[in-house]
Structures are given as C-alpha cells and as structure tokens.
C-alpha cells in the first residue's frame, strides 16, 4: 500500500491528536484506550494484510471463482474503500476477513488480521479474532440486529465472548459508553430498548458502537449506508470518519457508490470479476484513473449539476414545454391510508400541488417515507386519493370508478423499481410485453402483436429473440428495458417510473437512463420520474419537485432547485449527497458539517 500518501482529509490529523479535543468524549476515549492498549510494535504493522487470496464456491453449475489473487494492506488509521459492481467479489472478500464464508467456499492465500492468518482458522482461535481484532458493520442494520433482544444484551454477547468473567453491570456500563460515543441520545435509558425502536440510521450507529465496544482496531463495513437515506448516510459517513480520527481505527468500506468513496476513503481498490484491477490514493484515482473499467465506472456516475436536462433543452423547446397542455394536475392533494383497528389514518401526502405538462419529465425526489411513491401510484390508479383534487388526463381521480378509469389506463405506462419482481415468472418476455395489447387491443392478431413486441424490443436495444425467453434468463438491466418496453407498448401519453434504476449497478443504470432519455425525446411522452437520487433526477427531469414528509417543499427547473434552493430541507438534501470527486466533496462536507453537523438522525 502506498503508505507514503499523506493524510489528505482536512479533519484527519495524525492518530491521537484529536483525543483530548472533545472534552465530553474524553472519558469514553480513555476507556477505549485502555481496552485497546496493544504493544507498540503491533500498531506500526499493517492492521490487515491480504496475500493472494482466492475464493472458490461450489455451486450447482460447477465451481465458481469469486475472488482471484487479491492482495491488500490496510495501515492503522486508514480508510480503504473496495469498490465494484455486483458480482465483483467485494463482499466475499470482506466476509473472508472475518472467516464468515459459507461451508461451500474454499480459500487459498492468506488473510493476516493484526498478524494472525484467519484462512483455515476455526473454532476458538477464529472467535478470538472476530470482534476483538476485526469487527463488521452490515448493509441492513435492521436485519443485523436481533429483533427479540434488548440492545445492551446484544452488545454484551460480544463482550462476554471475549471476557467470560465480565459482569452484567460492566456490560451495561460499556454499552452506555459506546452508545454515547456514536451519538445515541440518552444511552442509559435506551440500552434496554429493542432494535425495532430505533431508526435505520440509529441502528447503524449501534452496529458501529458494538464494534467500538469490543475495541476492534479494524472495522469492515459492507455497504454500510446503502440501505439508508442520503441525509442519514452523510451522518453515518461522518461518524465513521470520526471513529477513525478519535480511535485510530482502520476501516474497510465496501461500496458501489462512488460518492461514498470520494467522501470517506483514503485509498481505493477497484474490483472487477474477482480481481483488484486498480488501487490508488483516492484523489489520484478520481483525477487520473488508469484502467479503462475505472474510467467507465466513474463516467457512469451522475454528477450533481453535471448535466441538467433542462439546460440541455433549446429555448424553443423550453418554451414549448412551458406552453403545453397539462397531463396531470394535483391541487391540495391528500392521500391517506386507513388505520387498522381504530387507529387513526396515516397521512402519506399532505396537500401537494403539482402539474405535469405534455412532453415534460417531472422528477420527484424524496427520501423513504416522503410519499413520492404514493403519489406515483395514485396517479396510476393503484391507490385512492383522499381529498383535494387530482386530474389525470382530464379525469378527476377522487372517487373515480375502475370502470370509468379503465380507458384512461391505456394512456399510462408504469415502470417499477425492482426488476426481479416486475414480471410474472411463468410468462415469456413476449407475453409480458404483449399483456397491455391483449387487454386494450382485442382485435389485434397474434402476428401483429408479435411484430409490435419485436419492434419494441428493438427500440429498447434488446435482440428480438429475447421474446421467447423467460424473465429470469435476463439480467436486471435487461429486465428494466423490457419493463420500459411493456410500459410503452400502447404509446402512452404519460409514463410513471418509480425508481427504475435504483436496483441496478451504476454502469447499467447509466445505459438505462440514456435509453429513457432517448425514448422520451423520440416519443415525446410526459413522464413522472420518481427517485431518491437528486443527481439522477436532474440529469433526466425538466422540472424537479422535492418531497419531504408528504409535503412538496420545493419545485422548479433543475438549475433553480440545485443552485437556488429555497427550503432548508432541499439545501440539506443537496449538501448531503456525496459527489464523486474527493476534492469537491471535502469542501461540500465542510459546508454540511458547519450547517447540519450537530444533528443526529
């Protein structure tokens, strides 16, 4: 590893310099120092050293080599990001560090954790390494915490495993200490609570606290923020950085998100098909990527404000859209879900006003629970609007009957988020795409249908013989193309796309977005594009609406929303989205810290 690389992050001074900086935390730090006290010689050696690691899985289809000849070093107090797309072997590599591979895996090479080779290690010796030398933070904080045990007990299990004589009182004291260190308020009271009573971000904080309480000097974080909203993600990333600064912990972060890499990492290893194809200092990698694959990967990441769809239009086009007839008009729209068993109804959308014009792409941005999906579903007639007014293609949706709405349905296409579940596994691609034709074009002959399906497959850039395949034989990106084809088969006036690319790898996402852009320009349909990713929305939408807790807090053309946001939430959203450029991101982070740094979830 390029140990000569200077510490480049502004907050990251030399190890230990910040220990006394924060008075309120010094008590914890002291305890931590004591627990983690190690011989001097150890501290200077690499915390982790992987040598020529190979991992092979035995599967139905024969042996699969998931990791091939990987070598890595992580020095004390450094953050290494392993980045790659699905199937690159990054998670498998991470799990091998803790010896968490399934029985069907065979390993070769060496994984030295603080000098101990964990390959081939088992039983008590492996358990001694786990937790104490290296700890793991998982992707889904909700499922990584046991739902039926209180927090302190779960924290205690790790402590007890390494020190059988520890008392209940000591465990509780330690739990309080570590929860406080990760910024959970009222830890004394909350250690008795169950995981279900914490938000996603807090659960991830608890996971990190568990790693800290055991005194692990190396934390392996597998997609630690992938399941979280961007604003929460920013806080968790800040916490990880803070942990490194305060305790000198080394961190390996596994991610597919280039923004996260730029924000957090000191060094980056790019993995592709089980190999590390490029390894560099973070600034070096983003500025001068050596490998073709790395360049492509970086190129595929949408950069906030990089290419706004609105600015890409000519003035004439902009004026044309501004003057076009509205397709969807919502006025003071309220959507509620009825409460069960006498509970009050849950109001998902509070008085939203929005308008989508003919040929316009409207991008709706928000975090989970913001009501963005609900609005999309209501426009498509999948949910009922409660009050206010919602006119879709000239029909008032409040109280509309299914019979009256059915003819409108042929004018609406819908693309769902998850390509895995969007198709009936028993139908061929042709049957899937042709379904709208079967419903609305009863007179159409089978031959005409086949022809229409083929031409659509062509326009979504898939080979025509895919028509006979089953959905499962296609990749996620291909299925999303088919989904687009199905939505467009009747030439709809309005297309609703609910997070169509969020389940896809970055490079695949880029190609699908490009396809969407082309088809929209060609066919001129109006679209509601729902996403959590402001950068993606800006690159696609002519107008952006920002939803926060069921309210539309901001709406306008891309550049206006991004550069002159009026609502504080929008500003926070923009500030917390990490951009794939370490230099720019460092500056953004400073701004974010200044304005929102003291917030916890």
């Amino acid at each position: 590893m390029s140990a000569a690389a200077p510490h480049s992050t502004p907050s990251g001074g030399a190890d230990g310099t910040r220990y006394a900086a924060d008075g309120t935390r010094s008590a914890v730090d002291g305890a931590r120092l004591e627990a983690g006290a190690r011989p001097e010689a150890d501290a200077s050696a690499a915390r982790l050293s992987i040598r020529d690691l190979g991992i092979t899985f035995a599967t139905d289809g024969g042996d699969v080599r998931a990791v091939d000849g990987v070598s890595l070093d992580v020095d004390p107090g450094r953050i290494l990001a392993i980045v790659g797309e699905s199937g690159s072997g990054k998670s498998v590599t991470a799990r091998s560090i803790l010896g968490l591979l399934p029985e069907t895996a065979t390993q070769s090479g060496a994984v030295l954790v603080s000098g101990t080779d964990v390959v081939g290690l088992s039983g008590a010796r492996l358990r001694a390494v786990r937790g104490e030398d290296v700890s793991m933070v998982f992707q889904e904080p909700s499922s990584a915490l046991n739902p039926v045990f209180p927090i302190w007990w779960q924290m205690g299990e790790g402590l007890r495993a390494h020190d059988p004589k520890i008392t209940r009182k000591q465990i509780r004291a330690k739990a309080v200490e570590s929860l406080r260190a990760v910024g959970i308020p009222d830890p004394e009271e909350r250690i008795d609570r169950f995981p279900d009573e914490f938000s996603g971000g807090q659960k991830q904080r608890i996971m990190i606290a568990m790693a800290l309480s055991l005194g692990a000097e190396l934390i392996v974080a597998d997609e630690p923020t992938t399941a979280l909203d961007v604003t929460v993600q920013a806080e968790i990333l800040e916490l990880l950085r803070d942990v490194r600064d305060r305790f000198g912990t080394s961190i390996i972060v596994i991610t597919h998100n280039m923004g996260v890499v730029a924000d957090l990492a000191d060094e980056v290893a790019v993995m592709y098909a089980g190999r590390i194809i490029e390894r560099a200092d973070v600034r070096e990698l983003f500025a001068h990527p050596r490998e073709e694959y790395t360049r492509k990967l970086l190129g595929a990441v949408p950069h906030l404000g990089g290419d706004s769809a609105w600015t890409a239009l000519s003035t004439a086009e902009q004026e044309a859209i501004e003057a076009a007839e509205p397709v969807v008009v919502a006025k003071d729209l309220v959507i509620e879900y009825p409460g069960r068993l006498g509970r009050p109804a849950f109001r998902a959308v509070h008085g939203v006003d929005l308008m989508i014009r003919q040929g316009e792409v409207y991008g709706l941005v928000g975090e989970s629970g913001s009501g963005k999906t609900t609005i999309g579903r209501t426009i498509a007639g999948l949910e009922k609007a409660t009050s206010g007014s919602l006119r879709v293609l000239g029909h008032e949706m409040i109280g509309i009957s299914e019979r009256a709405f059915k003819p409108v349905r042929r004018e609406i296409g819908f693309v769902f988020q998850d390509p895995a579940t969007s198709f009936n596994p028993h139908l061929t691609i042709e049957e899937c795409i042709a379904e709208p034709l079967v419903v609305h074009e009863r007179g159409m002959s089978a031959r005409d249908r086949t022809a229409r399906v083929r031409s659509l497959l062509e326009s979504v850039e898939l080979p025509g013989d895919y028509a006979r395949r089953f959905p499962h034989e296609l990749s996620g990106g291909q299925r999303q193309r088919v989904s687009l084809a199905r939505a467009l088969v009747l030439n709809p006036t309005l297309l609703i796309a609910d997070e169509p690319t969020s389940a896809l790898d970055v490079s695949v996402q880029a190609t699908v977005l490009e396809l969407f852009r082309q088809l929209q320009a060609e066919l001129g349909f109006a679209a509601l594009f729902i996403s959590h990713d402001l950068a993606v929305v800006d690159s696609l939408a002519h107008r952006i609406g920002v939803l926060y807790r069921g309210e539309l807090v901001e709406s306008g053309h891309g550049p206006d929303v991004l550069h002159r946001p009026t609502h504080d939430y929008t500003r926070r959203l923009i500030a917390s989205l990490p951009v794939p450029d370490p230099v720019e991101q460092a500056e953004r982070r400073r701004v974010f810290q200044k304005n929102w740094g003291d917030r916890v979830d």
Binding site: R130, N146, P147, F194, E197, F346, D498
Partner: protein, 362 residues
C-alpha cells in the same frame, strides 16, 4: 415498492414508536386477541349445531326404532325438538351462555358433570404427553438443525416422519404388545390397578388427579402404580407430537440461523453453540410457540384415540362411548366444551408468543 400498508412509506421516526412497549401495545393486543375467542367459539358452536341437526334430532338418533312413532313424537315435543330450528338454536345458545351444555341421554348426566369427572384424566394425559413431546422434540430438533443435512439430521428427520406416519393407536398396540404382553413391565390399560382404586377410595375429598391423590396419601406403591399406568399412553401420544415439535424446531431454527443478525453476532466472536441456543432460538420460538399451542389443542383429538386404545377413562374415552351409544347430545356437548378449551388455550399461546416478541403487532 409494494403494499404501502405493510412496508413502504410508514413513518420511522423513533418518536412514533416510543412508549409502545410501555403497556399500550401489549395490553391492547391481549384485549383484541381475547375478544377474538368469542367469534371463534360462536362459529364452531353454530357450525356444529346446524350440522348435527341437519340429520335429525338426538332423540330419533338415540331411540329411533325402539319406540313407536307416537312415543317418539311425544318425547321430541317434551324436549322441544319439534320447534323451529332457529328457536332451538337460540335456546341452545342461551343455555350454553349459562354454562349448560345439555344432558346426556344414555346416563342422564349434565355434560358439565361429565367434563368435571373425566376432564382431569384427559388433562393429566395431555400434560404427560406434552412433557414427553417437549423432552423428545425440542432438543432433538435443535440437534437436527445444528447438524443439518448430515447423518444425525437425516436419522432424526426420517424418525420424525415415521412418527407422523404411525397412527397413535397403532403405536399403542405395538407398545402394549412389547412392554405389557411380551415383557410384562407395564400394565395393559387403565389409569390405576383395581387394588389401587380401592386404596384411593379411602381419600375423603378426592382431587381430580390420581397422581396428586397418591402423593397426598403418601403411598409409594400407589404413586408407582399410577405412574406406570401413565407411561404407555403418554409415550404413545407424546411421540406423535414430539415428531411434529422436532420438525417445527428444526425448520424454524434453520431459518433464523441464516438471518443476518446471527452472522452479525458471529462476527463479534460469539460461539456457535450460543448462536444456536440463544441468538437463533429466541426469534425462532415465536412461530414455534404458536404452532406448539395449536398442536397441544390438536392433542385433544389424539387423546380420543389414545384413551380408547388404553381404556384411559377420560373425556376422549367417554366421547367414543357416547358415540357408540349414539348419544349425540353428549357428543355435541363434549365437542363444544373442547372447542372452548381449544380457543382459550390458543389465546394463551398467542399471548405467550407476543411476550417473547417485542414487536407486538396488531
């Protein structure tokens, strides 16, 4: 995302969830769950009542053929069976609400008395069998899950399937043949020897349980006598349920052993044994307890067969006797009582499951 009512966009703010454990949630759950007993019992009562009346009235069933049509009509009128069905139904509901489940024809005893007299014997049998089932099923299920797909698992699974495939009365027959007839270790049938019954007669205010009475008398021989009689019936009924418990524990434990939180605990150095016995077992217990409760209720059905096989004079044995005598008032009454017991025990089990699970839903 999918259905909004389940996952999609519910608020996750911690404030919305706070205080739910403090009492409101669980108390409310118990209340709602308790209220659900009423429709369950009422539905069963109604279904059973109308089904049994479709074919005719109990008097004709019990005495038809032995009486002249005139006598029969007189008896039916006296019992009110000539009234419209709906009136009879409401009348029946009314008496059930007062705790009156009818009077048997064959021996003219109130059904409630039959229950009081023979219920304890059945309860005793069910308790013994549950103990056998738990002792056999739970640890072996954990072993099977732990050694999944290796030989102990294979042996146990085949054993459990075999246990399921063997009717309880056939197991009873085999046990009798081996342990009573061939080896002569254990008594063939009954709850107590005739000599023991005489001794038992000395007790002034007998409790429903023979075992308790024997202990009260402090008669060692009597205790052994009572216990040896219970061994075969308890094993016959317990093994059947034990096999079901084994599968239940195995499947659920395998499920939770693969949850990320187990991996997460493993990554902190927790030992495999502790992962299986604490981290994976507790969450697995929630479905296990629910289904176990249901199985215990189902044991009442098995008790009918076991009691008949071993002439264990409990409710099930009496039910079979009344059935043979075509005394359908007794049958209906006993079935209804059992329905109430089943509904109540399911309620208790659900509450226990809710206590284990901090995420009380409803």
């Amino acid at each position: 995302m999918s259905s909004p009512t389940t996952t999609a966009e519910a608020p996750t703010a911690p404030t919305a969830r706070r205080g739910r454990r403090a009492g409101g949630g669980l108390g409310r759950y118990i209340l709602v769950r308790f209220a659900l007993i009423i429709p369950t019992v009422w539905i069963l009562m109604t279904v059973v009542f109308f089904l049994m009346r479709i074919t005719g009235d109990p008097i004709t069933a019990a005495l038809g053929g032995r009486l002249t049509p005139d006598q029969l009509a007189e008896r039916r009128a006296a019992a009110g069976y000539d009234r419209p069905l709906l009136v009879q139904y409401l009348d029946y509901l009314g008496s059930v609400l007062r705790g009156d489940f009818g009077t048997t024809y064959t021996d003219n005893t109130p059904v409630a008395t039959v229950l009081a007299t023979y219920g304890a014997a059945t309860a005793e049998l069910v308790v013994y069998s549950v103990i056998v089932a738990l002792v056999v099923g739970v640890p072996l299920g954990m072993v099977a899950a732990r050694f999944r797909d290796r030989w102990p698992d294979a042996v146990l699974r085949v054993g459990a399937i075999l246990g399921y495939a063997t009717p309880v009365f056939f197991v009873g027959l085999l046990l009798k043949l081996v342990f009573s007839v061939q080896l002569g270790w254990l008594p063939v049938a009954g709850r107590i020897s005739s000599r023991g019954e005489l001794t038992m007669g000395r007790i002034t205010n007998p409790s429903p349980s023979y075992l308790l009475d024997a202990i009260r008398l402090g008669d060692g021989g009597l205790i052994v006598d009572v216990l040896t009689h219970a061994v075969l019936p308890a094993v016959a009924l317990g093994l059947l349920t034990g096999g079901i418990f084994l599968r239940l524990v195995r499947t659920n434990l395998i499920g939770t052993l693969e949850m990320p939180y187990v991996d997460s605990a493993r990554s902190r150095g927790v030992s495999e044994v502790r992962l299986a016995t604490r981290h994976a077992l507790r969450p697995a217990l929630i479905p296990i307890v629910t289904v176990m409760g249901m199985q215990i209720a189902m044991m009442l059905g098995g008790a009918v067969l076991t009691e008949t096989t071993f002439e264990w004079k409990g409710l099930g044995y009496m039910l079979a006797q009344y059935m043979q005598a075509r005394d359908y008032v007794a049958v209906q009454g006993i079935v209804m009582m059992l329905a109430v017991i089943v509904a109540v025990s399911n309620f208790i089990v659900d509450v226990i499951a809710a206590l284990i699970d901090p995420r009380v839903r409803y």
